[in-house]
Protein backbone atom coordinates (compact mmCIF):
# COMPACT_ATOMS: atom_id res chain seq x y z
CA UNK A 1 0.00 0.00 0.00
CA UNK A 2 1.22 3.41 -0.84
CA UNK A 3 0.29 5.36 2.25
CA UNK A 4 1.94 3.04 4.70
CA UNK A 5 2.05 4.23 8.29
CA UNK A 6 3.77 1.18 9.66
CA UNK A 7 6.06 -1.17 7.81
CA UNK A 8 7.27 -4.22 9.68
CA UNK A 9 9.93 -6.34 8.04
CA UNK A 10 11.19 -9.69 9.17
CA UNK A 11 10.50 -8.91 12.82
CA UNK A 12 11.97 -11.35 15.30
CA UNK A 13 11.68 -11.47 19.03
CA UNK A 14 13.38 -14.27 20.91
CA UNK A 15 13.17 -14.81 24.64
CA UNK A 16 15.54 -16.86 26.71
CA UNK A 17 13.78 -20.06 27.62
CA UNK A 18 14.67 -22.43 30.42
CA UNK A 19 18.24 -23.56 30.73
CA UNK A 20 19.21 -26.84 29.18
CA UNK A 21 21.24 -29.26 31.24
CA UNK A 22 23.99 -28.50 33.72
CA UNK A 23 25.28 -24.99 33.20
CA UNK A 24 23.78 -25.32 29.76
CA UNK A 25 22.68 -22.51 27.55
CA UNK A 26 19.22 -21.12 27.69
CA UNK A 27 16.87 -22.52 25.13
CA UNK A 28 15.56 -19.89 22.74
CA UNK A 29 11.88 -19.18 22.70
CA UNK A 30 11.13 -17.75 19.29
CA UNK A 31 7.97 -15.84 20.13
CA UNK A 32 8.04 -13.94 16.87
CA UNK A 33 10.08 -15.43 14.09
CA UNK A 34 10.20 -13.31 10.97
CA UNK A 35 6.98 -11.40 10.63
CA UNK A 36 6.44 -8.79 7.92
CA UNK A 37 3.41 -6.65 7.18
CA UNK A 38 2.37 -3.14 6.28
CA UNK A 39 -0.30 -1.04 7.84
CA UNK A 40 -1.84 1.71 5.76
CA UNK A 41 -3.08 4.92 7.29
CA UNK A 42 -6.65 4.55 8.48
CA UNK A 43 -6.59 0.80 8.11
CA UNK A 44 -7.60 -1.80 10.65
CA UNK A 45 -5.41 -4.83 10.45
CA UNK A 46 -6.23 -7.74 12.73
CA UNK A 47 -3.76 -10.21 14.00
CA UNK A 48 -5.43 -13.48 14.98
CA UNK A 49 -4.09 -16.64 16.47
CA UNK A 50 -4.42 -18.91 19.45
CA UNK A 51 -2.62 -18.36 22.72
CA UNK A 52 1.10 -18.78 22.26
CA UNK A 53 1.07 -17.74 18.63
CA UNK A 54 3.08 -14.61 19.39
CA UNK A 55 0.48 -12.08 18.32
CA UNK A 56 0.71 -10.00 21.49
CA UNK A 57 4.48 -9.96 21.26
CA UNK A 58 4.21 -8.51 17.78
CA UNK A 59 2.03 -5.74 19.16
CA UNK A 60 4.38 -4.88 21.97
CA UNK A 61 7.47 -5.07 19.86
CA UNK A 62 5.95 -2.86 17.20
CA UNK A 63 5.32 -0.26 19.90
CA UNK A 64 8.88 -0.81 21.07
CA UNK A 65 7.78 -1.85 24.54
CA UNK A 66 10.01 -4.80 23.87
CA UNK A 67 13.25 -4.56 21.99
CA UNK A 68 13.13 -6.63 18.80
CA UNK A 69 15.78 -9.27 18.40
CA UNK A 70 15.99 -8.51 14.73
CA UNK A 71 14.09 -6.86 11.94
CA UNK A 72 12.84 -3.46 11.05
CA UNK A 73 9.92 -1.40 12.27
CA UNK A 74 9.39 1.72 10.26
CA UNK A 75 6.82 4.10 11.63
CA UNK A 76 5.91 6.89 9.24
CA UNK A 77 9.15 6.25 7.44
CA UNK A 78 11.35 6.33 10.52
CA UNK A 79 13.11 3.28 11.87
CA UNK A 80 12.14 2.45 15.46
CA UNK A 81 14.03 -0.79 15.96
CA UNK A 82 17.31 0.72 17.13
CA UNK A 83 16.05 3.64 19.21
CA UNK A 84 16.46 3.91 22.96
CA UNK A 85 13.89 5.19 25.42
CA UNK A 86 14.85 8.79 24.85
CA UNK A 87 14.75 8.46 21.11
CA UNK A 88 11.36 6.79 21.28
CA UNK A 89 9.74 9.43 23.40
CA UNK A 90 8.62 11.68 20.52
CA UNK A 91 6.96 8.64 18.90
CA UNK A 92 5.14 7.60 22.03
CA UNK A 93 2.42 10.17 21.63
CA UNK A 94 1.88 9.07 18.04
CA UNK A 95 1.33 5.41 18.79
CA UNK A 96 -0.59 3.94 21.64
CA UNK A 97 -1.68 0.71 23.21
CA UNK A 98 -5.03 -0.53 24.50
CA UNK A 99 -4.75 -3.47 26.85
CA UNK A 100 -6.66 -6.67 27.21
CA UNK A 101 -7.20 -6.63 30.95
CA UNK A 102 -9.12 -3.54 31.98
CA UNK A 103 -8.39 -4.37 35.61
CA UNK A 104 -4.63 -4.50 35.62
CA UNK A 105 -3.95 -1.86 33.00
CA UNK A 106 -5.17 1.02 35.11
CA UNK A 107 -3.11 2.04 38.10
CA UNK A 108 -5.45 1.41 41.03
CA UNK A 109 -3.80 4.14 43.08
CA UNK A 110 -4.41 6.93 40.61
CA UNK A 111 -7.50 8.93 39.88
CA UNK A 112 -8.96 8.85 36.40
CA UNK A 113 -7.89 12.42 35.83
CA UNK A 114 -4.27 11.45 36.40
CA UNK A 115 -4.49 8.21 34.48
CA UNK A 116 -6.03 9.69 31.39
CA UNK A 117 -4.08 12.94 31.74
CA UNK A 118 -0.72 11.25 32.21
CA UNK A 119 0.25 11.27 28.51
CA UNK A 120 -0.48 14.99 28.41
CA UNK A 121 1.60 15.56 31.51
CA UNK A 122 4.49 13.88 29.77
CA UNK A 123 4.15 15.14 26.26
CA UNK A 124 2.66 18.56 26.88
CA UNK A 125 4.19 19.59 30.19
CA UNK A 126 3.43 23.24 29.41
CA UNK A 127 -0.29 22.57 29.58
CA UNK A 128 -1.93 24.08 32.65
CA UNK A 129 -3.71 21.87 35.11
CA UNK A 130 -7.06 23.27 34.16
CA UNK A 131 -6.45 22.88 30.46
CA UNK A 132 -5.37 19.35 31.01
CA UNK A 133 -8.44 18.65 33.06
CA UNK A 134 -10.56 20.07 30.31
CA UNK A 135 -8.96 17.80 27.73
CA UNK A 136 -9.44 14.81 30.02
CA UNK A 137 -13.10 15.63 30.45
CA UNK A 138 -13.54 16.05 26.71
CA UNK A 139 -11.90 12.72 26.12
CA UNK A 140 -14.08 11.04 28.72
CA UNK A 141 -17.09 12.42 26.92
CA UNK A 142 -15.81 11.05 23.66
CA UNK A 143 -15.55 7.51 25.04
CA UNK A 144 -18.95 7.75 26.66
CA UNK A 145 -18.11 8.61 30.22
CA UNK A 146 -19.01 11.65 32.31
CA UNK A 147 -16.66 14.55 33.15
CA UNK A 148 -17.28 13.90 36.84
CA UNK A 149 -15.70 10.49 36.45
CA UNK A 150 -12.34 12.21 36.38
CA UNK A 151 -12.45 12.31 40.18
CA UNK A 152 -12.86 8.61 40.61
CA UNK A 153 -10.56 5.66 41.01
CA UNK A 154 -10.51 2.70 38.62
CA UNK A 155 -12.03 0.25 41.07
CA UNK A 156 -15.23 2.27 41.01
CA UNK A 157 -15.85 1.35 37.40
CA UNK A 158 -17.14 -1.75 35.71
CA UNK A 159 -15.05 -3.69 33.25
CA UNK A 160 -16.52 -2.03 30.20
CA UNK A 161 -16.10 1.42 31.68
CA UNK A 162 -12.51 0.67 32.51
CA UNK A 163 -11.88 -0.35 28.97
CA UNK A 164 -13.30 2.99 27.91
CA UNK A 165 -10.82 4.63 30.27
CA UNK A 166 -8.00 2.67 28.70
CA UNK A 167 -9.12 3.86 25.29
CA UNK A 168 -9.37 7.43 26.53
CA UNK A 169 -5.83 7.28 27.83
CA UNK A 170 -4.62 5.86 24.54
CA UNK A 171 -6.34 8.50 22.47
CA UNK A 172 -5.72 11.65 24.46
CA UNK A 173 -2.55 12.53 22.60
CA UNK A 174 -4.28 11.94 19.28
CA UNK A 175 -2.07 9.09 18.20
CA UNK A 176 -1.98 7.93 14.61
CA UNK A 177 -1.50 4.27 15.41
CA UNK A 178 -3.30 2.30 18.09
CA UNK A 179 -2.37 -1.24 18.94
CA UNK A 180 -5.37 -2.87 20.59
CA UNK A 181 -4.26 -6.04 22.31
CA UNK A 182 -7.36 -8.19 22.80
CA UNK A 183 -9.29 -5.16 24.02
CA UNK A 184 -12.61 -6.95 24.31
CA UNK A 185 -11.81 -10.53 25.18
CA UNK A 186 -12.06 -9.95 28.92
CA UNK A 187 -15.47 -8.35 28.62
CA UNK A 188 -18.96 -9.75 28.71
CA UNK A 189 -20.70 -10.06 25.36
CA UNK A 190 -23.04 -7.15 25.85
CA UNK A 191 -20.23 -4.88 26.95
CA UNK A 192 -17.90 -6.22 24.30
CA UNK A 193 -20.29 -4.95 21.68
CA UNK A 194 -20.21 -1.51 23.30
CA UNK A 195 -16.46 -1.34 23.11
CA UNK A 196 -16.23 -2.68 19.56
CA UNK A 197 -18.79 -0.12 18.48
CA UNK A 198 -16.90 2.61 20.27
CA UNK A 199 -13.65 1.69 18.65
CA UNK A 200 -15.20 1.67 15.21
CA UNK A 201 -16.81 5.03 15.85
CA UNK A 202 -13.57 6.52 17.07
CA UNK A 203 -11.70 5.13 14.15
CA UNK A 204 -14.11 6.87 11.85
CA UNK A 205 -14.09 10.09 13.81
CA UNK A 206 -10.37 10.32 14.38
CA UNK A 207 -9.04 8.49 11.37
CA UNK A 208 -7.14 6.00 13.49
CA UNK A 209 -4.94 3.28 12.21
CA UNK A 210 -5.48 0.16 14.30
CA UNK A 211 -3.53 -3.01 14.77
CA UNK A 212 -6.17 -5.19 16.35
CA UNK A 213 -4.96 -8.28 18.13
CA UNK A 214 -7.57 -10.91 18.92
CA UNK A 215 -8.37 -14.56 19.02
CA UNK A 216 -12.06 -13.96 18.37
CA UNK A 217 -12.67 -14.41 14.66
CA UNK A 218 -16.18 -13.02 14.84
CA UNK A 219 -15.00 -9.71 16.21
CA UNK A 220 -12.11 -9.63 13.81
CA UNK A 221 -14.31 -10.37 10.86
CA UNK A 222 -16.62 -7.64 11.96
CA UNK A 223 -14.24 -4.75 12.31
CA UNK A 224 -11.08 -5.29 10.31
CA UNK A 225 -10.03 -4.40 6.79
CA UNK A 226 -7.40 -7.07 6.58
CA UNK A 227 -6.60 -10.07 8.72
CA UNK A 228 -3.28 -11.72 9.45
CA UNK A 229 -3.28 -15.24 10.94
CA UNK A 230 -0.39 -16.24 13.15
CA UNK A 231 0.77 -19.66 14.16
CA UNK A 232 3.83 -20.30 16.31
CA UNK A 233 5.46 -16.94 15.77
CA UNK A 234 4.92 -16.70 12.03
CA UNK A 235 2.24 -15.35 9.72
CA UNK A 236 0.53 -18.16 7.88
CA UNK A 237 -2.01 -16.11 5.98
CA UNK A 238 -2.66 -12.45 5.33
CA UNK A 239 -5.61 -11.29 3.30
CA UNK A 240 -8.44 -8.80 3.04
CA UNK A 241 -11.06 -9.81 5.59
CA UNK A 242 -13.63 -10.90 3.15
CA UNK A 243 -11.22 -12.97 1.12
CA UNK A 244 -9.89 -14.66 4.23
CA UNK A 245 -13.30 -15.56 5.55
CA UNK A 246 -14.80 -16.63 2.27
CA UNK A 247 -11.85 -18.33 0.64
CA UNK A 248 -9.13 -19.21 3.10
CA UNK A 249 -5.92 -20.47 1.56
CA UNK A 250 -4.17 -21.94 4.53
CA UNK A 251 -5.30 -25.15 6.28
CA UNK A 252 -4.87 -23.52 9.68
CA UNK A 253 -7.16 -20.67 8.76
CA UNK A 254 -9.63 -23.18 7.51
CA UNK A 255 -9.54 -25.10 10.76
CA UNK A 256 -9.75 -21.94 12.82
CA UNK A 257 -12.79 -20.75 10.93
CA UNK A 258 -14.49 -24.08 11.19
CA UNK A 259 -13.85 -24.35 14.92
CA UNK A 260 -15.50 -21.03 15.55
CA UNK A 261 -18.84 -21.59 17.26
CA UNK A 262 -21.64 -19.86 15.40
CA UNK A 263 -24.55 -18.50 17.40
CA UNK A 264 -27.10 -20.15 15.22
CA UNK A 265 -28.50 -23.59 15.97
CA UNK A 266 -29.40 -24.09 12.34
CA UNK A 267 -26.03 -23.20 10.89
CA UNK A 268 -24.53 -26.09 8.94
CA UNK A 269 -21.64 -27.60 10.80
CA UNK A 270 -18.77 -28.91 8.82
CA UNK A 271 -16.17 -28.98 11.44
CA UNK A 272 -12.54 -29.74 10.82
CA UNK A 273 -11.24 -30.77 14.17
CA UNK A 274 -7.55 -30.25 14.56
CA UNK A 275 -5.74 -33.07 16.28
CA UNK A 276 -3.66 -32.34 19.34
CA UNK A 277 -2.34 -29.14 20.72
CA UNK A 278 -0.14 -26.39 19.46
CA UNK A 279 3.46 -27.59 19.76
CA UNK A 280 5.81 -25.95 22.24
CA UNK A 281 7.36 -22.81 20.78
CA UNK A 282 10.61 -24.01 22.36
CA UNK A 283 10.65 -26.99 20.08
CA UNK A 284 8.63 -26.24 16.94
CA UNK A 285 8.31 -28.86 14.21
CA UNK A 286 10.73 -28.62 11.34
CA UNK A 287 9.61 -27.14 8.06
CA UNK A 288 6.06 -25.92 8.28
CA UNK A 289 5.27 -25.46 11.97
CA UNK A 290 1.64 -26.41 11.37
CA UNK A 291 2.35 -29.70 9.69
CA UNK A 292 2.02 -31.71 12.92
CA UNK A 293 -1.68 -30.88 13.05
CA UNK A 294 -2.37 -30.42 9.39
CA UNK A 295 -4.52 -32.93 7.62
CA UNK A 296 -3.01 -32.02 4.27
CA UNK A 297 0.61 -32.39 5.39
CA UNK A 298 3.03 -34.14 3.06
CA UNK A 299 6.63 -35.21 3.40
CA UNK A 300 7.77 -31.97 1.83
CA UNK A 301 6.14 -29.98 4.60
CA UNK A 302 8.65 -31.34 7.08
CA UNK A 303 11.58 -30.42 4.91
CA UNK A 304 10.96 -26.89 3.77
CA UNK A 305 9.68 -23.98 5.66
CA UNK A 306 7.05 -22.23 3.55
CA UNK A 307 7.49 -18.50 3.14
CA UNK A 308 4.62 -16.05 2.95
CA UNK A 309 3.82 -15.40 -0.66
CA UNK A 310 1.13 -13.66 -2.59
CA UNK A 311 -1.31 -16.14 -4.13
CA UNK A 312 -3.97 -13.68 -5.14
CA UNK A 313 -3.91 -9.89 -5.18
CA UNK A 314 -3.40 -8.87 -1.58
CA UNK A 315 -3.77 -12.45 -0.42
CA UNK A 316 -0.69 -14.01 1.10
CA UNK A 317 -0.18 -17.48 2.50
CA UNK A 318 2.63 -19.58 3.85
CA UNK A 319 1.79 -23.08 2.63
CA UNK A 320 3.56 -25.31 0.21
CA UNK A 321 0.43 -26.80 -1.22
CA UNK A 322 -1.40 -24.83 -3.83
CA UNK A 323 -3.56 -27.76 -4.85
CA UNK A 324 -5.95 -27.53 -1.95
CA UNK A 325 -9.51 -26.42 -2.23
CA UNK A 326 -10.36 -25.39 1.24
CA UNK A 327 -13.78 -25.13 2.73
CA UNK A 328 -15.20 -21.70 3.27
CA UNK A 329 -17.11 -22.03 6.48
CA UNK A 330 -20.72 -21.17 6.81
CA UNK A 331 -20.42 -17.87 8.59
CA UNK A 332 -19.21 -15.81 5.71
CA UNK A 333 -22.38 -16.35 3.83
CA UNK A 334 -24.75 -16.06 6.72
CA UNK A 335 -27.32 -13.43 6.15
Amino acid sequence: MSDSLLAVRDLRKYFPGPRQGILGKHATLKAVDGVSFDLARGEVLSLVGESGSGKSTVGRTVLRLDKPTDGSIRFDGQELAGLDDRGLRPFRRRMQLVFQDPYSSLNPKMRVEDIVGAPLEIHEPSLSRDARRQKVEDMLGLVGLLPSHAERYPHQFSGGQRQRLGIARALITHPELVVADEPVSALDVSVQAQVVTLMLALRRQLGLTILFISHDLAVVGYLSDRVAVMYLGRLVELAPTRALFTSPRHPYTEALLSAMPVPDPDAPRRRITLAGDMPSPLDPPSGCAFRSRCRYAEAACAATRPELREVAPGHFKACLRDDLSLIAPSMGVAA
Binding site: P18, R19, I22, G24
Partner: protein, 317 residues
Protein backbone atom coordinates in the same frame (compact mmCIF):
# COMPACT_ATOMS: atom_id res chain seq x y z
CA UNK B 1 17.90 -31.01 38.56
CA UNK B 2 21.60 -31.51 39.06
CA UNK B 3 22.28 -28.43 36.97
CA UNK B 4 20.04 -26.53 39.30
CA UNK B 5 21.89 -27.85 42.32
CA UNK B 6 25.25 -26.95 40.82
CA UNK B 7 24.06 -23.46 40.07
CA UNK B 8 22.59 -23.04 43.52
CA UNK B 9 25.83 -24.26 45.05
CA UNK B 10 27.73 -21.71 43.00
CA UNK B 11 25.44 -18.94 44.19
CA UNK B 12 25.83 -20.16 47.74
CA UNK B 13 29.59 -19.99 47.47
CA UNK B 14 29.40 -16.40 46.31
CA UNK B 15 27.08 -15.62 49.18
CA UNK B 16 29.41 -17.37 51.57
CA UNK B 17 32.30 -15.27 50.33
CA UNK B 18 30.25 -12.13 50.91
CA UNK B 19 29.18 -13.31 54.33
CA UNK B 20 32.76 -13.99 55.31
CA UNK B 21 33.90 -10.62 54.02
CA UNK B 22 31.16 -8.73 55.81
CA UNK B 23 31.71 -10.76 58.95
CA UNK B 24 35.44 -10.36 58.87
CA UNK B 25 35.22 -6.64 58.29
CA UNK B 26 32.66 -6.01 61.01
CA UNK B 27 34.48 -8.20 63.47
CA UNK B 28 37.98 -6.89 62.93
CA UNK B 29 37.08 -3.26 62.51
CA UNK B 30 35.16 -3.26 65.76
CA UNK B 31 37.07 -1.66 68.59
CA UNK B 32 38.70 -3.94 71.13
CA UNK B 33 40.58 -7.08 70.37
CA UNK B 34 41.34 -10.55 71.59
CA UNK B 35 43.96 -9.27 73.97
CA UNK B 36 41.78 -6.81 75.82
CA UNK B 37 40.75 -9.57 78.21
CA UNK B 38 44.35 -9.83 79.29
CA UNK B 39 44.80 -6.07 79.42
CA UNK B 40 41.95 -5.99 81.89
CA UNK B 41 43.82 -8.19 84.29
CA UNK B 42 46.76 -5.87 84.52
CA UNK B 43 49.45 -8.45 85.14
CA UNK B 44 50.54 -8.52 81.54
CA UNK B 45 52.66 -5.64 80.39
CA UNK B 46 52.14 -3.66 77.25
CA UNK B 47 55.17 -5.39 75.75
CA UNK B 48 53.62 -8.74 76.45
CA UNK B 49 50.41 -7.67 74.77
CA UNK B 50 52.15 -6.21 71.75
CA UNK B 51 54.35 -9.27 71.43
CA UNK B 52 51.39 -11.63 71.44
CA UNK B 53 49.42 -9.44 69.04
CA UNK B 54 52.32 -9.61 66.64
CA UNK B 55 52.54 -13.36 66.99
CA UNK B 56 48.85 -13.66 66.25
CA UNK B 57 49.39 -11.55 63.16
CA UNK B 58 46.97 -8.91 64.36
CA UNK B 59 49.33 -6.07 63.52
CA UNK B 60 49.05 -6.60 59.77
CA UNK B 61 46.69 -4.78 57.40
CA UNK B 62 43.18 -6.15 57.48
CA UNK B 63 42.96 -7.24 53.82
CA UNK B 64 46.15 -9.24 54.27
CA UNK B 65 44.69 -10.91 57.33
CA UNK B 66 41.49 -11.65 55.45
CA UNK B 67 43.18 -13.12 52.42
CA UNK B 68 45.34 -15.27 54.61
CA UNK B 69 42.37 -16.41 56.62
CA UNK B 70 40.47 -17.20 53.43
CA UNK B 71 43.40 -19.04 51.91
CA UNK B 72 43.77 -21.23 54.98
CA UNK B 73 40.05 -21.72 55.11
CA UNK B 74 39.98 -22.93 51.55
CA UNK B 75 42.61 -25.45 52.47
CA UNK B 76 40.42 -26.69 55.27
CA UNK B 77 42.30 -24.98 58.08
CA UNK B 78 39.77 -23.06 60.09
CA UNK B 79 42.43 -21.78 62.47
CA UNK B 80 42.79 -22.15 66.17
CA UNK B 81 41.00 -20.42 68.98
CA UNK B 82 42.89 -17.63 70.66
CA UNK B 83 41.41 -18.75 73.92
CA UNK B 84 42.16 -22.43 74.19
CA UNK B 85 44.39 -22.96 71.14
CA UNK B 86 42.13 -25.75 69.90
CA UNK B 87 41.27 -26.11 66.20
CA UNK B 88 38.12 -24.15 65.43
CA UNK B 89 36.33 -27.05 63.79
CA UNK B 90 36.94 -29.18 66.82
CA UNK B 91 35.53 -26.47 69.05
CA UNK B 92 32.46 -26.05 66.89
CA UNK B 93 32.12 -29.82 66.77
CA UNK B 94 32.04 -30.02 70.52
CA UNK B 95 29.29 -27.42 70.80
CA UNK B 96 27.10 -28.12 67.80
CA UNK B 97 25.54 -31.24 69.28
CA UNK B 98 23.87 -29.38 72.11
CA UNK B 99 22.54 -26.73 69.76
CA UNK B 100 21.25 -29.21 67.21
CA UNK B 101 19.58 -31.19 69.95
CA UNK B 102 17.79 -28.05 71.07
CA UNK B 103 16.92 -26.85 67.60
CA UNK B 104 15.71 -30.18 66.32
CA UNK B 105 13.51 -31.00 69.28
CA UNK B 106 12.01 -27.56 69.40
CA UNK B 107 11.43 -27.56 65.65
CA UNK B 108 9.78 -30.93 65.92
CA UNK B 109 7.56 -29.72 68.72
CA UNK B 110 6.81 -26.53 66.82
CA UNK B 111 5.96 -28.41 63.65
CA UNK B 112 3.61 -30.77 65.34
CA UNK B 113 1.79 -28.24 67.47
CA UNK B 114 2.01 -25.41 64.96
CA UNK B 115 0.80 -27.46 62.01
CA UNK B 116 -2.05 -28.85 64.03
CA UNK B 117 -3.12 -25.45 65.34
CA UNK B 118 -2.78 -23.90 61.89
CA UNK B 119 -4.78 -26.60 60.12
CA UNK B 120 -7.49 -26.57 62.72
CA UNK B 121 -7.60 -22.78 62.67
CA UNK B 122 -7.99 -22.76 58.89
CA UNK B 123 -10.70 -25.41 58.89
CA UNK B 124 -12.59 -23.75 61.67
CA UNK B 125 -11.93 -20.27 60.48
CA UNK B 126 -13.41 -17.55 62.69
CA UNK B 127 -14.16 -20.05 65.45
CA UNK B 128 -13.20 -19.34 69.03
CA UNK B 129 -10.33 -21.77 68.67
CA UNK B 130 -9.11 -19.89 65.64
CA UNK B 131 -9.32 -16.52 67.40
CA UNK B 132 -7.51 -17.84 70.44
CA UNK B 133 -4.86 -19.44 68.28
CA UNK B 134 -4.39 -16.19 66.39
CA UNK B 135 -4.06 -14.16 69.57
CA UNK B 136 -1.80 -16.77 71.08
CA UNK B 137 0.46 -16.80 68.06
CA UNK B 138 0.66 -13.03 67.96
CA UNK B 139 1.55 -12.81 71.63
CA UNK B 140 4.09 -15.60 71.21
CA UNK B 141 5.70 -13.70 68.38
CA UNK B 142 5.83 -10.61 70.55
CA UNK B 143 7.31 -11.98 73.74
CA UNK B 144 11.02 -11.29 74.07
CA UNK B 145 12.50 -14.77 74.06
CA UNK B 146 14.87 -14.16 76.92
CA UNK B 147 12.13 -12.72 79.04
CA UNK B 148 9.97 -15.72 78.40
CA UNK B 149 12.96 -17.85 79.38
CA UNK B 150 13.28 -15.97 82.63
CA UNK B 151 9.59 -16.38 83.30
CA UNK B 152 9.80 -20.11 82.60
CA UNK B 153 12.70 -20.42 84.98
CA UNK B 154 10.99 -18.31 87.57
CA UNK B 155 7.77 -20.28 87.38
CA UNK B 156 8.89 -23.82 86.70
CA UNK B 157 12.31 -23.92 88.29
CA UNK B 158 12.31 -21.40 91.11
CA UNK B 159 8.62 -21.50 91.95
CA UNK B 160 7.32 -24.96 91.21
CA UNK B 161 10.73 -26.63 91.16
CA UNK B 162 9.56 -28.94 88.38
CA UNK B 163 12.34 -28.24 85.96
CA UNK B 164 16.05 -27.71 86.32
CA UNK B 165 17.06 -24.09 85.87
CA UNK B 166 19.61 -24.86 83.24
CA UNK B 167 22.30 -27.22 81.94
CA UNK B 168 22.02 -30.06 79.51
CA UNK B 169 22.24 -32.82 82.08
CA UNK B 170 23.18 -33.47 85.64
CA UNK B 171 26.84 -34.31 85.80
CA UNK B 172 27.05 -37.93 86.81
CA UNK B 173 23.49 -38.68 85.75
CA UNK B 174 23.49 -38.39 82.02
CA UNK B 175 20.57 -40.73 81.39
CA UNK B 176 18.08 -40.05 78.62
CA UNK B 177 15.43 -39.18 81.17
CA UNK B 178 17.71 -36.67 82.84
CA UNK B 179 18.56 -35.10 79.50
CA UNK B 180 14.91 -34.89 78.51
CA UNK B 181 14.09 -33.30 81.81
CA UNK B 182 16.68 -30.64 81.16
CA UNK B 183 15.47 -30.19 77.61
CA UNK B 184 11.89 -29.30 78.47
CA UNK B 185 12.48 -25.70 79.58
CA UNK B 186 14.72 -24.46 76.77
CA UNK B 187 12.75 -26.43 74.22
CA UNK B 188 9.55 -24.78 75.40
CA UNK B 189 11.12 -21.34 75.08
CA UNK B 190 12.68 -21.91 71.69
CA UNK B 191 9.64 -23.67 70.31
CA UNK B 192 7.35 -20.81 71.29
CA UNK B 193 8.23 -18.53 68.41
CA UNK B 194 8.59 -21.37 65.91
CA UNK B 195 5.22 -22.74 66.87
CA UNK B 196 3.67 -19.36 66.34
CA UNK B 197 5.38 -19.01 62.99
CA UNK B 198 4.33 -22.46 61.95
CA UNK B 199 0.75 -22.06 63.02
CA UNK B 200 0.41 -18.71 61.24
CA UNK B 201 1.93 -19.87 58.00
CA UNK B 202 0.20 -23.20 58.14
CA UNK B 203 -3.11 -21.48 58.66
CA UNK B 204 -2.72 -19.13 55.75
CA UNK B 205 -1.27 -21.82 53.54
CA UNK B 206 -4.17 -24.06 54.43
CA UNK B 207 -6.66 -21.27 53.80
CA UNK B 208 -5.09 -20.73 50.41
CA UNK B 209 -5.34 -24.38 49.60
CA UNK B 210 -8.87 -25.04 50.74
CA UNK B 211 -10.08 -22.32 48.42
CA UNK B 212 -8.32 -23.89 45.48
CA UNK B 213 -10.25 -25.32 42.61
CA UNK B 214 -8.84 -28.79 43.04
CA UNK B 215 -10.29 -29.04 46.51
CA UNK B 216 -13.65 -28.31 44.94
CA UNK B 217 -12.86 -31.02 42.40
CA UNK B 218 -12.12 -33.43 45.21
CA UNK B 219 -15.41 -32.52 46.84
CA UNK B 220 -17.21 -32.99 43.55
CA UNK B 221 -15.87 -36.53 43.50
CA UNK B 222 -17.70 -37.16 46.74
CA UNK B 223 -14.64 -37.92 48.79
CA UNK B 224 -14.98 -37.93 52.56
CA UNK B 225 -13.94 -34.63 54.14
CA UNK B 226 -11.15 -36.32 56.03
CA UNK B 227 -9.62 -37.65 52.87
CA UNK B 228 -10.00 -34.30 51.16
CA UNK B 229 -8.20 -32.59 54.01
CA UNK B 230 -5.43 -35.11 54.45
CA UNK B 231 -4.82 -36.24 50.91
CA UNK B 232 -5.56 -33.07 49.00
CA UNK B 233 -5.37 -30.07 51.29
CA UNK B 234 -2.73 -30.72 53.93
CA UNK B 235 -0.35 -32.25 51.46
CA UNK B 236 -0.44 -29.12 49.32
CA UNK B 237 -0.51 -26.77 52.28
CA UNK B 238 2.63 -28.35 53.68
CA UNK B 239 4.60 -27.58 50.54
CA UNK B 240 5.26 -23.91 51.26
CA UNK B 241 6.09 -24.86 54.83
CA UNK B 242 9.24 -26.53 53.56
CA UNK B 243 10.43 -23.18 52.28
CA UNK B 244 9.28 -21.42 55.43
CA UNK B 245 11.25 -23.83 57.54
CA UNK B 246 14.33 -23.12 55.46
CA UNK B 247 13.83 -19.38 55.72
CA UNK B 248 13.19 -19.59 59.42
CA UNK B 249 16.59 -21.12 60.08
CA UNK B 250 18.54 -17.91 60.80
CA UNK B 251 15.85 -16.77 63.20
CA UNK B 252 15.89 -20.18 64.82
CA UNK B 253 19.65 -19.91 65.27
CA UNK B 254 19.26 -16.49 66.84
CA UNK B 255 16.59 -17.88 69.10
CA UNK B 256 18.81 -20.79 70.06
CA UNK B 257 21.54 -18.34 70.90
CA UNK B 258 19.35 -16.44 73.31
CA UNK B 259 17.76 -19.54 74.75
CA UNK B 260 21.11 -21.16 75.38
CA UNK B 261 22.17 -18.03 77.19
CA UNK B 262 19.21 -18.06 79.50
CA UNK B 263 19.34 -21.79 80.17
CA UNK B 264 23.12 -22.11 80.42
CA UNK B 265 22.95 -24.60 77.59
CA UNK B 266 26.45 -25.52 76.44
CA UNK B 267 25.89 -25.00 72.74
CA UNK B 268 27.02 -22.86 69.87
CA UNK B 269 25.07 -19.87 71.03
CA UNK B 270 27.03 -19.49 74.20
CA UNK B 271 30.26 -20.33 72.46
CA UNK B 272 29.43 -17.60 70.03
CA UNK B 273 28.63 -15.02 72.67
CA UNK B 274 31.74 -15.92 74.66
CA UNK B 275 33.90 -15.86 71.57
CA UNK B 276 32.56 -12.58 70.34
CA UNK B 277 33.08 -10.82 73.62
CA UNK B 278 36.59 -12.22 73.80
CA UNK B 279 37.10 -11.21 70.16
CA UNK B 280 38.21 -14.74 69.51
CA UNK B 281 38.31 -14.02 65.78
CA UNK B 282 39.03 -17.49 64.43
CA UNK B 283 36.18 -19.03 66.40
CA UNK B 284 33.71 -16.27 65.58
CA UNK B 285 34.59 -16.45 61.90
CA UNK B 286 34.36 -20.21 62.08
CA UNK B 287 30.92 -20.06 63.63
CA UNK B 288 29.80 -17.48 61.11
CA UNK B 289 30.92 -19.53 58.17
CA UNK B 290 29.49 -22.63 59.75
CA UNK B 291 26.09 -21.11 60.44
CA UNK B 292 26.00 -19.51 57.01
CA UNK B 293 26.71 -22.88 55.48
CA UNK B 294 23.92 -24.27 57.64
CA UNK B 295 21.55 -21.52 56.57
CA UNK B 296 22.44 -21.82 52.89
CA UNK B 297 22.36 -25.58 53.00
CA UNK B 298 19.06 -25.33 54.83
CA UNK B 299 17.49 -23.23 52.13
CA UNK B 300 19.03 -25.35 49.40
CA UNK B 301 17.74 -28.52 50.99
CA UNK B 302 14.38 -26.87 51.52
CA UNK B 303 14.25 -25.98 47.83
CA UNK B 304 15.29 -29.45 46.80
CA UNK B 305 12.78 -31.05 49.13
CA UNK B 306 10.21 -28.72 47.72
CA UNK B 307 11.00 -29.75 44.21
CA UNK B 308 10.81 -33.38 45.24
CA UNK B 309 7.55 -32.86 47.07
CA UNK B 310 5.99 -30.67 44.42
CA UNK B 311 5.91 -32.36 41.03
CA UNK B 312 5.46 -28.98 39.35
CA UNK B 313 9.02 -28.19 40.35
CA UNK B 314 10.13 -31.49 38.95
CA UNK B 315 12.92 -30.09 36.88
CA UNK B 316 13.82 -26.59 37.94
CA UNK B 317 16.22 -25.38 35.33
Amino acid sequence: MSGYVVRRLGQSLVLLLMVSMIGFAILHLAPGGPLSQFAAGGDMTQEDLDRIAKELGLDRPLPVQYVEWLWRMLQGDWGRSYRDQQPVLQIIGSHIGATLELMLTSTLVAMMIGAWVGILGAIRRYSIFDSLATIGAMVALSIPTFWFGLVVIYVFSVGLEWLPAGNRYTIGDESLLDRLHHLIGPCMVLALVSTAVWSRYMRSSMLDVINQDYIRTARSKGLPERRILLNHAVRNALLPMITITGLHLPALLSGALVTETVFTWPGMGRLFLDSISYRDYPVVMGILVFTSVMVLAGSLIADLLYSVADPRMGAPG
